[in-house]
């Protein structure tokens, strides 16, 4: 009630027609664009019955794809958490030249097409690269191998965690850290006792977003993968391969794994957001 009267005092009272029209349009749009495809995925996956579905998802290739996806995601989240903390800390707590440039660079992976990111790594680590002989000598394979897929995933999900941390750290300022340092606290103690409690929820939220993005990554991974079935194929690539082979039902079945993972992440996200708000 209080909220309603408040919104009415601001400017003219909006007509109920406009209100319901806007709500209706939004719901319709969401339904057509998001809910319908999701339903289709589940429906198609289960079209030939539950037994066929179970067979499709217990296929060794699908299983290895799930494994690889999870592996790449874990790497991406761990690496980007560490990097994101460092970068956000550096940018907000210190004054230095080129700070703006660093912030802009952090955003680069979002603005560059993932395909290009993939190509960059192919050129950097592939046969035509200057460091290829060195890699060859040490038996290190990046392109068309698991490390390449991890690299691509890390690159694409680069900004997600630092972006969440930056505004929170910015708002906190440096006073509390300074006060702690004055009393003789060392860097790690300061981080653990003062900074971390403050950024906890933003960090968790960043990790959730990073996880979601890492699992769904297709473009950059596709370029670096080489599509070796059962070896360098992630879930999204597996879906593409099955689809290309006209195996629709299995394609949808594998897709449904991604959908379930996404829903789980959404739920985790909501919980994190809710608790974070409560804490404030």
């Amino acid at each position: 009630m209080a909220k309603e009267t408040q919104s009415q005092t601001v400017g003219a009272k909006p007509s109920p027609v406009v209100k319901w029209l806007l709500i209706g349009l939004s719901v319709l749009f969401l339904f057509v664009m998001l809910v319908l495809p999701l339903i289709t995925v589940i429906q198609e996956a289960l079209r030939k019955g539950f037994a066929a579905y179970r067979e499709a998802i217990s296929d060794p290739d699908a299983f290895s794809a799930l494994n690889l996806t999870l592996e790449a995601t874990v790497f991406a989240v761990v690496i980007n958490t560490v990097f994101g903390l460092f970068a956000a800390w550096a940018v907000t707590k210190f004054r230095f030249h080129g700070k703006k440039l660093l912030v802009t660079l952090i955003d680069l992976p979002v603005t560059v097409s993932p395909i290009i990111a993939g190509l960059i790594y192919v050129l950097t680590f592939g046969r035509q690269s200057a460091i290829y002989p060195f890699l060859e000598e040490h038996d290190l394979r990046v392109v068309y191998a698991v490390p390449g897929i991890i690299l691509a995933t890390v690159f694409v999900t680069f900004p997600f965690i630092s972006r969440e941390l930056l505004p929170v750290l910015e708002a906190q300022g440096t006073d509390e850290e300074e006060a702690a340092a004055m009393m003789g606290a060392k860097g790690f103690t300061i981080f653990r006792k003062i900074t971390l409690p403050h950024i906890r929820w933003a960090l968790l939220y960043g990790i959730v977003l990073c996880t979601a993005r890492a699992m769904g990554e297709f473009g950059a991974v596709s370029v670096l993968s080489g599509h070796l079935r059962g070896q360098t194929v992630t879930l999204p690539l597996q879906v593409e391969i099955l689809f290309g082979d006209n195996k629709y039902m299995p394609a949808f079945a594998v897709s449904s794994i991604l959908v379930i993972l996404a829903v789980v992440i959404l739920i985790v996200r909501s919980i994190v957001e809710y608790i974070g708000k409560e804490k404030k």
Binding site: G173, D175, E176, E178, A179, A180, A181, M182, M183, G184, A185, T189, K193, I194, P197, H198
Partner: protein, 352 residues
């Protein structure tokens, strides 16, 4: 001298925050660093604390040069302007933090925290978080936190800035009392002259990175040593042409003629007055009730001046023509200031 600064210089780019700053502070005294914003007072405080490094010059605490000693080992308690309380720690943990970091025994920490909580009168609030406290309570916690490790020196950056007027008054006397009781050498930064006059044992006036004057509040108020100090204290007004007021010595070269309300006497035409021949006429433009007195804005010889009258004196109305007599004037020339008494007073005392 317990704390001593010798020829300190500090610049931020082309901005000179400290320009050959030197002064000394006796043990156990409460000093105020007073100046307008940008005068370099906070920089001085932060350099003493070790949060900033001077470009040149020496800082001594208890006879030792501390320039290269890190902030945490200078034995200083620092109260930040915004208090910088650890918002994810309780009052207890905030106060205990400095001791925990120093690996003091648990029972000792507990005893010290309890003692301090009692001192600041916040018993029963130990488990609260800073966000659940009022501004005044937060300030007390910040004070206790700074004192917990038994510092030799207590530094406070604008300690009353973030508190509303009524509580501020209360906290001022509280803080003064506490510091006197504990006998810890303290310096606080402020831009509020009333605060400095009321709280400090001695005041250091800063302006544009330099020290203008050091002295007791009374001394600085009554005998300003520089043009800046003369204009900074009290409610000052400036006279356009002081020679238009009678019975003053004529000074050849001067920049400003500064007066305070207590230098001015306004008299109704029908009242008896002592120095009638030396008074000039003025018109009352505005009156304002100030609680314990009435303040008048008077236009006189082209200048606007502020004067006060007691509440029980006959009422003076807006638009009324009154006699204005000025007891004394601060005359400035460059950095110099001179107190010019009204000769009418001197002549009288000579006669007697």
């Amino acid at each position: 001298m317990y704390i001593e600064l010798k020829n300190i210089n500090k610049s931020y780019g082309s901005f000179k925050a400290s320009d050959d700053v030197s002064f000394g502070i006796e043990k156990g005294k409460l000093f105020a660093l007073l100046g307008p914003s940008g005068s370099g007072k906070t920089t001085i405080l932060r350099m003493i604390a070790g949060l900033e490094k001077p470009d040149s010059g020496e800082i001594l605490i208890d006879g030792k040069v501390v320039n290269d000693i890190p902030a945490s080992r200078r034995g200083i308690g620092f109260v930040f302007q915004s208090y910088a309380l650890f918002r994810y720690m309780t009052v207890y943990d905030n106060i205990a933090f400095g001791l925990k970091v120093k690996k003091v025994k648990k029972q000792e920490i507990d005893a010290r925290v309890k003692e301090l909580v009692k001192l600041i009168g916040l018993e029963g609030f130990e488990k609260r978080y800073p966000s659940q406290l009022s501004g005044g309570q937060r300030q007390r916690v910040a004070f206790a936190r700074a004192l917990a490790p038994n510092p030799q020196v207590l530094l406070l950056d604008e300690p009353f800035a973030a508190i509303d007027a009524k509580v501020r008054q209360e906290l001022r006397s509280w803080l003064k009392e506490m510091i006197q009781k504990l006998g810890v050498t303290s310096i606080f930064v402020t831009h509020d002259q009333d605060e400095a006059i009321e709280v400090a044992d001695e005041i250091i006036v800063t302006n544009r990175g330099r020290i203008e004057q050091t002295g007791t509040p009374i001394d600085i108020y009554q005998n300003p040593a520089t043009a800046f100090t003369a204009g900074f204290f009290g409610v000052t007004s400036e006279l356009e042409d002081y020679k238009a007021f009678r019975s003053f010595e004529e000074v050849e070269e001067y920049d400003r003629a500064i007066i305070r309300p207590e230098f001015v006497k306004i008299t109704k035409k029908d009242e008896v007055q002592k120095y009638k021949t030396s008074a000039v006429e003025g018109t009352v433009e505005r009156t304002a009730f100030r609680g314990n007195c009435i303040e008048f804005t008077v236009r006189c010889n082209g200048s606007i001046l502020t004067a006060r009258r007691e509440l029980d004196e006959p009422r003076v109305e807006v638009g009324e023509t009154v006699d204005v007599f000025i007891y004394r004037i601060f005359i400035t020339h460059g950095d110099e200031v001179r107190l010019l008494p009204n000769n009418a007073i001197r002549e009288e005392s000579v006669v007697i």
